[in-house]
Amino acid sequence: MTTSTQTPATPTTAPSRRRRGSAGRFQGGNPVVYAVAFLVVCATLGPVVYGVLGGFRSNAQLADAPASLPDPWIFSNYTGVVTDPSFWQYTLNSVVVAVVTTAIVVVFGVMAAYPLARYAFKGREVLFMVFVAGLLFPATVAVVPLFILLTQNFGLGNTWWGVALPQAAFALPMTVVILRPFLKALPKELEEAAQLDGTSRIGFFWRILIPLSGPGMVTVGVLAFVGSWNAYLLPLLLLQGDMKTLPLGVADFSSEHSSDTAGVFAFTTLAMIPALVFFLAMQKRIVNGLQGAVKG
């Protein structure tokens, strides 16, 4: 270890060393860094991995030796969940609600952000402030009256729309705040060229702006999807029986089978897999979106 770090002066490695030298000189004590990194990874992943592996064990195994590997590996917990029709029903509900939420957020969000970014008109900043003010109304604050309105006035109790529409509404302010600078940054020349070609502003929106703002829309779309997929409070108040989403299913399963630890682990693991795969694939977008929010 020490020898390899001490002998960087061979001619071939020298230039590249130099370029990253600034960071390199300050590194000092690499083993310490790796040790800390290892600790962080263990603390972060420990509970998750324990849950995944716990799903492959029996309750007896978990009780006898909580901190060991499955021996033998048991698959009945997972097959039990996968053959449970309500698990698939919950998954379907989660997917539909999240897709509808995302579609509304992206379409209405980009529409609203367009004039706010590229039209010059009186009251534009005031209009934008309406959306910024929307950020100050967290969904939690309005959840009880929202529940009353949705069930009594709108007739949307226990429906996909009843969850998707309010979720989209509460996600819109953030979406507009993220998208506006994004649309603003597209070069002015594009618009001028389009105008010279006789394209109207609406035509510009559909044929040029929408295709070009793909990355921005993906970012806000992923954020909306994440939010919807993980949402618990509004579905808890609004959805019953076969309409429940996956988080509700997880919570129910956990309280109904609280002594069946292995079963709970299997159910939770399967519930988090689609989310994990999707979100980690989209990790850059999520981080970008959050950073955009931080800067915005």
Partner: protein, 337 residues
């Protein structure tokens, strides 16, 4: 409404993609006719307004229906004694606010929220900063590391809560078993069952869940620090510590301050994790304002009380947001200007 109708006729044609522009012009032009530049200018002005309305109306309608209306309803509800059925008739003025603000459970929940706001920042800021600074270097497996750190954040609070609930089961949960095997005595009523410990346990789990977000945002902020600064400092003989303290952390200021804002707003709204772990118990030791208002609204059918609690929660969040903006974020605005 009439406005809406006028606006909604326009979008039908753009959707058919053949001639969005043509569709819209046909709508506007014939009415004005050919003559007069002034007329035409007024016409195009009107058209522009219609366009703006068309683009903004759906989002505004959503906000009005699902954000503004419920908030108004909350204010309205808060002035009545109401069990959720029938019309609002039993007007009680500010009585609901008085009972909310003198309710020990609500005040306790408010205090818990504030403790969580402060502790979240006090714990995650130094820890997140330390980890971000350590990881902000070329090292093996950095990409994987960043992904791993982000995992707890993308899990639903419910999923994370359920897993932790199992890990923390008294006696046969893995944590207690490990403690016993090394000769330590776990708390008799369990980590979540002891009123003195429950809030701290929740706090620890929240740290586990949200530390990754802080690290990821700080790391992203660190990439914005120009490399030359490090080189210059290095030439001047600054130590690693000095560089971090004098250059990196100050330049990370805006990121840290906005992260703090997000963290604060999130802490004030905390519900899912607590609901899964303790439902606010034991003896309301972990209750939050959101738990309180959901309990009042859905379990006790005290919608008036729930409305008043919603308004109070909103006002507290608003005041804290404005104060934060004034006292802390304003520095960034100044820095830019």
């Amino acid at each position: 409404m009439a406005d809406d109708a006028a606006v909604t006729t326009a979008p039908a044609s753009p959707a058919t993609s053949t001639g969005p522009a043509a569709g819209a012009t046909r709508q506007g032009r014939p009415a004005a006719g050919r003559p007069g530049g002034g007329r035409r200018a007024a016409d195009s002005k009107l058209r522009k307004r219609l366009e703006i309305a068309f683009f903004v109306a759906p989002a505004l309608a959503m906000l009005a229906l699902f954000v503004v209306w419920p908030v108004i309803t909350a204010v309205q509800m808060s002035a009545f004694r109401w069990n959720g059925r029938g019309p609002l008739v039993d007007f009680v003025g500010l009585a609901n606010y008085v009972s909310v603000l003198t309710d020990d459970v609500f005040v306790g929940s408010l205090v818990n929220n504030l403790v969580i706001v402060v502790l979240s920042i006090a714990i995650q800021l130094p820890l997140g900063l330390a980890i971000a600074l350590l990881l902000n270097r070329r090292m093996w497996g950095q990409g994987a590391l960043r992904t791993i750190i982000f995992v707890p954040y993308v899990l639903a609070e419910v999923v994370a809560g359920v897993v932790w609930f199992q890990l923390l089961q008294p006696y046969y949960g893995v944590l207690d078993t490990i403690l016993q095997s090394v000769g330590l005595e776990p708390p008799a009523q369990g980590w979540l069952g002891d009123p003195d410990l429950a809030l701290w346990t929740v706090m620890a789990i929240l740290t586990w869940k949200y530390l990754g977000l802080a690290v990821i945002l700080f790391l992203a902020g660190l990439q914005g620090v120009p490399e030359e600064l490090y080189e210059a400092a290095q030439l001047d003989g600054a130590s690693w510590w000095q560089v971090q303290r004098r250059i990196t952390v100050p330049l990370l200021g805006p990121t840290i301050r906005t992260w703090g804002f997000l963290s604060m707003i999130g802490s004030l709204q905390l519900f899912d994790m607590v609901w899964i772990l303790t439902k606010g118990g034991p003896a309301n030791a972990t209750s939050t304002m959101a738990i309180f208002l959901v309990n009042e609204g859905t379990r006790s059918n005290n919608f008036g009380i729930a409305g008043a609690a919603s308004v109070v929660l909103f006002l507290i969040a608003l005041v804290m947001a404005v104060l934060y903006q004034r006292l802390i974020l304003r520095r960034d605005a100044k820095g830019v200007a």
